[in-house]
Symmetry: C2
């Protein structure tokens, strides 16, 4: 959503990468099981229950089960929708086995394995482009900034603990799709609105003796600020997923990390620099960078976060 | 469907081209009206009636109007679906006006304007990649080859006369979409199955004193050979379209052209050279071509029909 170049790079990168994988599977390993990490963002926020990939429709007296209509909310999420359509077609014509994991917003940074050593610690994105809302709220609470809710804060999404993400992929591996089947699982464990999350973080911070304010700022995105949201997510549970709940992991996993590393936080990264209503956005960070070489310029075209990551390291 | 390179070129070409147009509209001419020539092939062949772009769904006691689920049948048609999703999103976030004309299979080569002079005559594709079924049947009848029906021939699609195509675009121009509206019209006038068409051409040829055979050959595509098909197409009629019917234009416009130019027909182009079940297809024409320069090779990568057109001219 930054500008034309980023939109085109994102869509070409995902679409071409996925097509290459599909043709490679067909040619070299037609029986392997493709697991794609998709996103719940493919569905958007329809006014009906969101099913897991397909919906049974009765229309003018006839019935069919069809792909759930997709109304994604960004050029990135659109690229994942394009991939889903391409994968579904490859399964149909070539008999490929695929599982599309429509993942919710992941929180947490540690699994049992990464906890062995600090060197294994995971990314903790909190900036306005790659950061997710819960990470940002925890970081804002840790450094004493108000939590910045976009608009009314009624935007509701599915969330899951990073340990559940890893487990879901494991479950998909152990239960491969049938030949020609394009299976879709909605991979999240709990739904929250943005305002729910702000209040949960506020309450957790209070328990740690920290005062927290909640600010409502204009929504830089084009999205419903209040809407119906009820997405099904029973298939992975049926296959054995035992969810971790946010209430249990917030203090341990998120707040404690944010507080432990708060001296590294760049407080200037919190506020949105990309207005989705505009076709191009000049971000402050780019403008404040020293003159770059041609090679660096070319890298910057390919990764919206080059500068952000450079500052974070 | 020829191979990986053609699939990737087709998708990148359509997706990037359309994204560029959308960003250009937003930046330089936000009030203009985008008319996209789409295709009925975006819908596939669901077991329910096909609506014009959107469908009202009642699900678990709640209602919404959502984009009609897309199940296209080739990587080309998938690229048009990707474009439709991108256009719909641009209308939503930027208030762009768009009309998506989901066109059926066009037949005929002449409008009143092109009829002024033979130099204005239109393409008449009958080869296995770009040719459409009705053109091929007319050419096969004209040169005394059997009409090649793929499989059972129950594949049913929407069709329209080229004069109606032009009129539909004119109607869309004169009735622009509202700001932020992504309007979808199904642009065809009659439905036929492949076997229906073969019999209609046979009967027309008989009237001209020509004997015609109908052959059923194995279907090189992955598609339902018998299926329900009922696609709505009333919106353009409501705006004033007065359809030409195949029964009236077949002899005048199609058979007569095929017969008039039958000495130019390359009879080797009729049979399918692309098996959709395979990830790559070596076509006879490519193999029979003389050694080409690097530049010609690079052009060939970008256009599946380079060799075909060269032979046709």
């Amino acid at each position: 959503m930054i500008d034309r170049k980023h939109a085109i790079f994102t869509q070409v990168n995902n679409v071409v990468g996925t097509l290459n994988v599909l043709f490679a599977i067909r040619e070299f390993s037609p029986n392997c099981h493709l697991i794609k990490l998709g996103t719940m963002g493919e569905y958007g926020t329809p006014n009906i229950d969101i099913e897991e990939g397909y919906i049974a429709i009765e229309h003018n007296g006839r019935k069919d089960v069809v792909p759930f209509p997709k109304q994604p909310g960004s050029f990135y999420h659109l690229s994942k929708v394009h991939d889903s359509h391409n994968i579904m077609f490859a399964c149909k014509i070539w008999g490929i086995r695929a599982t599309d994991l429509n993942q919710g917003v992941v929180y947490g940074t540690m699994t049992d394995e990464t906890a062995f050593d600090e060197a294994l610690i995971n990314r903790f994105d909190y900036d306005d482009v790659f950061g997710t809302v819960l990470n940002r709220f925890c970081v804002q609470a840790a450094i004493g900034q108000p939590l910045t809710v976009y608009g009314k804060g009624g935007q509701t999404r599915g969330f899951l603990d990073i340990r559940d993400t890893v487990r879901c992929i494991e479950i998909a591996c152990h239960n491969p799709a049938a030949k020609g089947e394009c299976r879709v699982y909605n991979q999240f464990t709990e739904q929250f609105s943005v305002l729910d999350l702000a209040r949960i973080v506020e309450s957790a911070a209070n328990k740690l003796g920290m005062a927290v304010e909640i600010d409502h700022i204009p929504d830089p995105r084009v999205e419903a600020e209040q809407h119906y949201y009820n997405a099904k997510h029973s298939k992975l549970i049926d296959l054995g997923l035992q969810p971790h709940h946010l209430s249990d992991s917030l203090l341990d996993s998120l707040m404690s990390i944010a507080i432990k590393y708060r001296d590294r936080v760049d407080a200037s990264l919190m506020l949105p620099q990309v207005n989705w209503r505009e076709p191009k956005n000049d971000r402050r960070l780019q403008m404040s960078m020293p003159t770059r070489s041609a090679a660096a310029d070319s890298r910057a075209d390919h990764s919206p976060s080059t500068e952000v990551k450079a500052k974070k390291g």
